[in-house]
Structures are given as structure tokens and as C-alpha cells.
């Protein structure tokens, strides 16, 4: 059996940002309290001409560049998101057309709150491993929305990460996968509602921590590994606190999580969150490094992966824009009025 794993990866983060202070000022809230409680300073905002499809296409193009393959060789392209632009019409067909993968390509749109991106990766990996396709794209991307004034508005952000899976020129081999899920009503959005509802504190212990820790412990047991065996760990990051608390309970030192802990500068990119964290890790990883990735999606469940980084990583890291520079450079800050316009929160006659 040949190595199966990631052969190319790409991240795309919009340039626009809004600071916690700008949101708090509008709603008369205490910015320092939110910054301390959520452990985040600012979040990304999609431009007026950006959505989950455009972010996913750019991430996919970067991933193909690193994989050094033409889009026509992609046999399956799956996009996981909770903000697919159409209610009915696939994100995947537009993406596949834009990267030149059509017509011989299988596409599907995945949804599972913040876990949809790793679902896409999970299924593409399985298809490559089964020998059904030569290469496949698994993408997590979102332009997530929080209701005006709600705690979610401070964190819900935008970004996408794409991974080409294959068996030739693997840069990060998949050593193990594991899924852990239950029916848990921690966060939802009904049809025709603009913004999601959430269970407040209920989103922590019975939802995020139960599933994240369940998946992390489950995959380590399955693989016969312990927390000490990993060089980097990335968890879903709805705020700054949760992933660090999960790490502490698993006995993982903070410095192993920090490389993929983007949320203080990025916000919560939902389906893109742990995948974007993984891209930041791959940007600096060295051959032989072992990575644990655990996503979380409300509803609720976690997907877990163990990767081992291979020699080819060093050849591809510089072939496309890295994640940290996209986060830290060329930022354009918005005031709340511009942000409300960008996100369609202003009521107008049509």
C-alpha cells in the first residue's frame, strides 16, 4: 500500500479585519471583557465580492500549485461550509469549473457546522485510499455570521483551506483517522433564519470538550500513541480559550498548539478553522514531524487525523502564499458601519 496523504495545501484569508473594540463600541459592550473572555483581538471579514466559493477557489488554486498538478487531474472536489452561497445549487460545481476539473469530477457540498471541512478531507482521503481517484480536493471554508450584538459576532470570520490528497509526492502522510459524534443540540440554524442560535455555556463541556477530547483520546488509543508523540496539535478554535483548555486536559504543552492557534488574529472561520490551523503548521513543519488534528462541529462531532510530515514538504512550502503572512500583512481595517454594509446587515429596499 503506497503512502496516502496530503500532496498540496493552500490557505486563503481575506484582507479585511474588524477589531473587537469596533464591535463593542457599537453595542455598548466592554471590549476588554470580550477580548479576555474570547481571547481574540480581531477577526477577518470577506470583501463585498467574496464568499465561500471565491475563498475556496483561491485556496484550491494554491493547493494545486503546491501539488504541482493541473486541476483536470482532480477526480473529486468536496467543499465543507455552513455558508454555501446558494440554498440550492452546488458550491462544488463552480469550484470545479474554476480550477478546470470539470467534467470528469465528482463534487458534493458538505455541511456539519464547523466540522464540514474535515469531513470533506476525510471523504477525499478515503476515496484516494480506496483507489477510486488519483487526486482529490477537500476544502473547508466559511464566511460565517453572528447575529448583531451576539457574542458570536465578535468571532465569526472568513477564510478557507484546501488540501489535495494523493499517493504521489506526499508531503504529509495520513497515519490514522477517527470520528466521534453524538446528537447534541448545542448550536443550530433553522431554515430561512439569518443567524444561528446557540446554547451559551452548553456549547462547552457537553459539546466542544466532550467531542474534541473524545476524538483526541480515541485516535491516540487507535494509533497506540500518547500526547508526547506529537510535535504539533491543532484543534477547532471557536475562541482562543477552548483549544488551549482542551490541550491542557490532554497534557499537551501550549507551544505545540500555538503554531496552529490562529483564532486570536483571525476569529473563528468555522469549517476553515482547524484546516487553516493545519496549513500554518505545514508552512513551518519539518520532515518527520507528527501532527494531531481534531476538528469540532456543533450538532455535534469531531474528526481526528494523525499526519506524519515527509521530505517533500520542504520543496512545496514556498510555492504559494503562507498562512501567517496572510494574517499579519496588508490588513484593511473596517469600522462597524462598513462591516455592517459588507455583511449585508443593513436593511434596504430592494
Amino acid at each position: 500500500m503506497p503512502d496516502v496523504g496530503i500532496v498540496g495545501y493552500g490557505a486563503y484569508i481575506p484582507r479585511y479585519r474588524i477589531k473587537v473594540e469596533s464591535i463593542a463600541l457599537t453595542w455598548g459592550a466592554d471590549a476588554e471583557n470580550y477580548k479576555r473572555g474570547l481571547q481574540l483581538r480581531e477577526k477577518s471579514v470577506p470583501g463585498l465580492d467574496q464568499d465561500t466559493i471565491t475563498l475556496s477557489v483561491e485556496a484550491a488554486r494554491y493547493a494545486l500549485r503546491r501539488a504541482d498538478i493541473d486541476g483536470s487531474r482532480i477526480g473529486a472536489a468536496y467543499v465543507g461550509s455552513e455558508s454555501h452561497p446558494y440554498a440550492v445549487k452546488p458550491t462544488g460545481t463552480i469550484l470545479a469549473e474554476a480550477i478546470g476539473a470539470t467534467p470528469e469530477c465528482h463534487t458534493a457540498d458538505f455541511e456539519f457546522a464547523c466540522k464540514a471541512g474535515t469531513e470533506a478531507m476525510y471523504v477525499v482521503y478515503s476515496q484516494v485510499k480506496a483507489g477510486l481517484i488519483e487526486y482529490g480536493l477537500g476544502i473547508g471554508g466559511d464566511t460565517s455570521q453572528g447575529a448583531p450584538g451576539d457574542a458570536l459576532e465578535y468571532s465569526a470570520s472568513a477564510g478557507a483551506a484546501a488540501f489535495v490528497f494523493g499517493t504521489e509526492n506526499v508531503i504529509a502522510r495520513v497515519d490514522e483517522t477517527y470520528a466521534f459524534m453524538t446528537d447534541t443540540p448545542d448550536f443550530w440554524r433553522r431554515e430561512h433564519e439569518h443567524y444561528p442560535q446557540h446554547g451559551g455555556r452548553f456549547t462547552g463541556e457537553p459539546a466542544y470538550f466532550k467531542h474534541t477530547l473524545g476524538a483526541a483520546n480515541g485516535i491516540m488509543k487507535k494509533a497506540g500513541l500518547t500526547a508526547d508523540d506529537f510535535d504539533y496539535v491543532v484543534f477547532h478554535q471557536p475562541n482562543g480559550k477552548f483549544p488551549m483548555a482542551a490541550g491542557k486536559r490532554l497534557g499537551i504543552p501550549r507551544e505545540k498548539i500555538e503554531t496552529g492557534w490562529l483564532v486570536p488574529r483571525l476569529g473563528n472561520t468555522y469549517s476553515g478553522a482547524s484546516p487553516l490551523g493545519l496549513t500554518a503548521i505545514l508552512d513551518v513543519a519539518k520532515p518527520g514531524n507528527r501532527i494531531l488534528m481534531v476538528s469540532f462541529g456543533s450538532g455535534a462531532g469531531s474528526d481526528a487525523f494523525i499526519f506524519t510530515v515527509l521530505d517533500r514538504i520542504l520543496e512545496v512550502q514556498d510555492l504559494a502564499p503562507k498562512t501567517d503572512p496572510q494574517l499579519d500583512e496588508n490588513k484593511i481595517y473596517l469600522d462597524y458601519g462598513s462591516y455592517a454594509k459588507f455583511r449585508g446587515k443593513i436593511l434596504r429596499n430592494t
Binding site: R15, G47, L48, D49, Q50, D51, I53, T54, V57, E58, R61, P85, Y86, I94, E97, A98, I99, G100, N330, I332, K341, T350
Partner: protein, 128 residues
């Protein structure tokens, strides 16, 4: 409402993937044509993703469907393979756009056909 998507759909290869046509004598046509000068044959090619601003203007009074974007820069971009395209120049204050500025092509939403119609995608350029 008037739906213009059939024409837009026919233009997908050039709008989504910058597909042009290169004739036997090496001339690039974008968008591709039905026939070429001198009866030459042409092959589809994908144009370069980077280029520079040749000239531009700033639109302050746009058509209604672009009104949220105003003011925005609209320019002629010479791609690195020599072909020229017309494109919005975004993610930059129009006051900062300069002739000769390096840009790269990104996939963006061009317009929406009202609240019920199609979302139309294509290319715009951003500073490199």
C-alpha cells in the same frame, strides 16, 4: 426581472479560468473568437495570473448593480504573457492605484442578479 445568465454561462471558460486562444502565429486573443485573421487555427490556453496596470480610471457613479462597490478602480491590465484584460482593481484604495503597479488575478463575485437570481463569478485583480 431580466436574467442574463445564459450569456454569462457561455463565457465561463474565460471568466473563471482566463482561457484565451493562441493562433499558429503566436497571437493571443481574449476572449477567444469564432474565427481568426487569415483563417489561422487557434488552441485554447490559460493566461498568466500576474501582470501590471497599464491604465485605469476610478468609477464614482457605477451601474446600479455595482453601486455598493463605488468608488472603485477599473483598469486595463497587461498580463505577463502580453495579453490585456479589463478588470476591476480591488482590495486597494483607488487613490493608491498607480500605473505600472503589479497585480495578480483573483476569483471574485462580479455581480448578483438581484436577491433571487444567479451569482455571477469571474476575475478581478488585486495588488501583488
Amino acid at each position: 426581472m431580466k436574467i442574463r445568465s445564459p450569456r454569462y454561462h457561455r463565457e465561463t471558460p474565460q471568466r473563471y479560468r482566463l482561457e484565451a486562444a493562441k493562433t499558429e502565429s503566436g497571437e493571443i486573443f481574449f476572449p477567444p473568437r469564432v474565427c481568426y485573421p487569415g483563417g489561422e487555427k487557434a488552441e485554447p490556453i490559460r493566461m498568466a495570473n500576474n501582470g501590471k496596470v497599464v491604465t485605469f480610471t476610478v468609477i464614482h457613479t457605477p451601474p446600479a448593480e455595482y453601486s455598493d462597490l463605488a468608488p472603485y478602480a477599473l483598469g486595463i491590465i497587461e498580463l505577463d504573457d502580453g495579453a490585456r484584460i479589463t478588470s476591476q482593481i480591488v482590495d486597494v484604495d483607488p487613490a493608491d492605484v498607480k500605473i505600472g503597479m503589479r497585480v495578480r488575478v483573483e476569483f471574485r463575485k462580479i455581480r448578483t442578479e438581484g436577491d433571487e437570481g444567479l451569482l455571477c463569478y469571474g476575475y478581478k485583480v488585486v495588488p501583488e
